[in-house]
């Protein structure tokens, strides 16, 4: 036991002495939370719209005015022909083109049936469907208002009224969705990279050779290696939660001790993984490369940016081996929904299983190489 304490003391001295370490521990969470939460968003604002009004009526101007008044739209130009408008889309200086045909006002007043053309740059498919939905809703709204003026009653059109309710994130604020996920990303990066780098550094500098000819037992060495990063990563989580509360006003809806309990188990998976990487590599460069390879796959498939449920079936199966997906889901449940243990016990036991698996694999590999 005293041996572990000596190893721990040594590790902490080394970590804290490293000049890049402290700023990294303090600035990475702040930067990641602040930058990613604001930028990694699917909300579309300031859509650049080109209006091609060929009708020149008060009704057509009113429709264009509805777009101008929307906080989502920014009219960048008025053009006089469809081709000219298409040119703006082609150059990428506008995302949407609204074409109002001649006779638009006449048709609306006389037949109550008129059409407009809404063209969207759909290179980014999901953004395009959002932009289309915004544009359509503005046009529909306008259509209803016109119908009311024409018939004097809205009852006909609104036979079915939908009353939407948004739970857990009533303001549909994307940041509320992102912050818990980014917190997970944060502890994962700290845990995985620091542990993978640390052991392999001993190999690279040759100190492991000296350490191996001492009575230090494997479990003592590994505990001494993992515990500091386990503590640092949990501190990191606490720090991140504080930023979420102060900067974004996102308080943890559920139990904070429960969140830390899950994080403790999750970190064992991550640290075990980092350790496993460091046992199969000889240099920091190799360890870095392999860690990044898995990190990128884990992150992209984790449901941090895109919902796991909308991935193809095979990807959802692959995701069963992605610890990041588990913890992001649990973290969102605890932080936003206030879920209790019984709500995610299945996911939690999945994490426990992976913790045991990665740690025993790492210990087994470490034994084999020495």
């Amino acid at each position: 036991m005293t041996r572990i304490l000596y190893i721990l003391q040594k590790e902490f001295i080394q970590v804290l002495r490293d000049k890049s370490m402290l700023p990294m521990i303090l600035f990475i969470p702040v930067l990641q939370l602040l930058i990613l939460s604001y930028t990694a968003t699917f909300e579309i604002r300031n859509i650049r719209l080109v209006v091609c009004d060929l009708d020149h009526s008060s009704e057509s101007r009113e429709l264009a005015g509805k777009f101008k008044g929307s906080s989502f739209y920014n009219i960048v130009n008025y053009v006089q022909s469809y081709d000219e408008g298409a040119e703006w889309l082609k150059k990428g200086t506008a995302e949407q083109l609204l074409v109002i045909e001649p006779g638009f006002a006449k048709n609306i007043i006389h037949t109550g049936d008129a059409s407009v053309l809404l063209t969207t740059d759909a290179i980014n498919g999901s953004a395009a469907s959002l932009m289309n939905a915004y544009g359509t809703s503005i046009i529909n709204q306008f259509g209803r208002e016109m119908a009311v003026t024409a018939t004097g009653s809205a009852q006909l059109r609104e036979a079915l009224r939908i009353e939407p309710q948004f739970w857990y994130n009533p303001e549909l604020d994307y940041k509320t969705y992102m912050v818990p996920g980014i917190l997970v990303l944060l502890v994962t990066i700290i845990g995985m990279f620091l542990s993978a780098m640390n052991v392999v550094r001993e190999k690279e500098t040759g100190t492991i050779e000296q350490i191996n000819v001492t009575p230090i037992r494997k479990y003592q060495f590994m505990t001494g290696k993992l515990l500091p990063f386990w503590i640092i990563a949990l501190f990191e989580l606490a720090f991140g939660l504080l930023i979420a509360r102060v900067v974004f006003g996102i308080a943890v809806a559920g139990s904070i001790p429960l969140l830390f309990a899950v994080a403790s188990v999750y970190l064992l998976v991550v640290l075990g993984f980092g350790l496993l990487v460091s046992t199969i590599t000889d240099t920091m460069q190799q360890a870095m490369f392999i860690s990044w390879f898995f990190m990128v796959i884990f992150i992209l498939m984790s449901g941090l940016f895109t919902p796991v449920e909308s991935m193809p079936d095979w990807a959802q199966w692959v995701n069963k081996a992605n610890p990041l997906a588990y913890f992001i889901k649990i973290n969102r449940m605890i932080m936003l929904k206030g879920s209790g243990f019984s709500d995610f016990s299945g996911l939690f036991f999945g994490l426990v299983f992976y913790a045991i698996l990665t740690l025993s694999l790492a210990v087994w590999r470490y034994r084999k190489t020495t």
């Binding site: 040594k10 002495r17 040759g206 001492t214 009575p215």
Partner: protein, 311 residues
């Protein structure tokens, strides 16, 4: 009766087809200062790795202080001190922190066996708060030795401790090793420097994974033939080839600015060399008898084993 500290029996080890060790047999006595002498690639480090329980041999066995290097590796790690060829302490820890760390993991303190390394540590005293990575080569080596002695090992393994160290520090280091030996610790050293062999109680001459001779440096030199001559002429390049054609030649090799020549016959007359060379058209011929050194023994043994292999 002498106690055996290290008993090596027919150790073999290959690394991806390269035979690093091909059947090593040696007994090292307790309290000895024993040297493994040989060039790079002789297998010294491989042998040290096996003896310090870092590597498992392909075949054969070895005991250190009576403990088997494979089955009792935990006991061995408690009682040996090991100084790897490459500086292997924590460069970002200070002198004190390194020493305390190694004392800690051996469950001892810096003070418990301080008398063992106080002479060495005295020179490190002014740098105790300095990081190990910022020490000079000689100081790093002294720190590594202190760390290897902190738990008062029964045996001390030093893998090429003087490689890359200046001549003054080397002499000083060997004096330290002598003192450690007198404190009752078996010291096992490897070195590529032939001149350091004379400082050991006994040496093993190693080449290409084999032991060519094991004896005290005096006996090794004594068993060497008497007729060793240093030869020089104005045409140095064809000289070894010419000398090799003389009858009963045992070995011919270059040594510094001379060619060393050894003849098997005890009654060999060196005048023969001069006559022969003159007949071949050489001028400015110098021939004089010299006392053999360990390096001469090494060269001759190496040529013999090469000849044996060829035959």
């Amino acid at each position: 009766m002498k106690q055996i500290a290290v008993d090596i029996r027919d150790i073999r080890k290959s690394y991806t087809g390269i035979k690093a060790l091909q059947g090593i047999n040696i007994q090292i006595n307790s309290g000895e200062l024993f040297g493994f002498i040989g060039p790079d690639g002789a297998g010294k480090t491989s042998l040290f790795h096996i003896l310090t329980s870092l590597v498992i041999p392909d075949s054969g066995s070895a005991t250190v202080a009576g403990y088997d290097t494979i089955h009792d590796y935990r006991e061995i790690r408690k009682i040996v001190g090991y100084m790897p060829g490459k500086f292997s302490l924590y460069q970002d820890l200070t002198v004190d922190e390194n020493l305390k760390f190694f004392a800690g993991i051996f469950r001892t303190t810096i003070h418990e066996h301080f008398e063992l390394y106080k002479d060495i540590f005295a020179q490190l005293e002014p740098f105790r708060k300095r990081k190990a990575g910022q020490l000079s080569g000689g100081m790093k080596q002294k720190l590594a030795l202190s760390c290897a002695l902190v738990h008062k090992p029964q045996l001390l393994f030093l893998d090429e401790p003087t490689t890359g160290v200046d001549a003054v520090s080397r002499t000083e280091f060997w004096e330290i090793l002598q003192r450690i030996k007198y404190m009752g610790i078996t010291v096992i050293v490897s070195t590529p420097y032939m001149d350091e062999a004379a400082l050991c109680d006994r040496v093993a001459l190693m080449n290409k994974g084999s032991i060519m001779a094991v004896n005290s440096p005096e006996n090794i030199v004594r068993s060497f033939g008497k007729n060793l001559y240093a030869v020089k002429s104005e045409q140095m390049f064809p000289l070894p080839g010419l000398l090799a054609t003389i009858e009963h030649t045992k070995a011919v090799y270059r040594s510094g600015e001379y060619i060393h020549y050894l003849n098997e016959k005890d009654d060999f007359d060196p005048v023969l060399i001069e006559i022969y060379l003159r007949a071949c058209g050489h001028g400015m011929i110098q021939v004089h008898q010299i006392a053999p050194s360990i390096e001469d023994c090494f060269m001759v043994l190496m040529q013999q084993s090469k000849a044996q292999k060829a035959a």
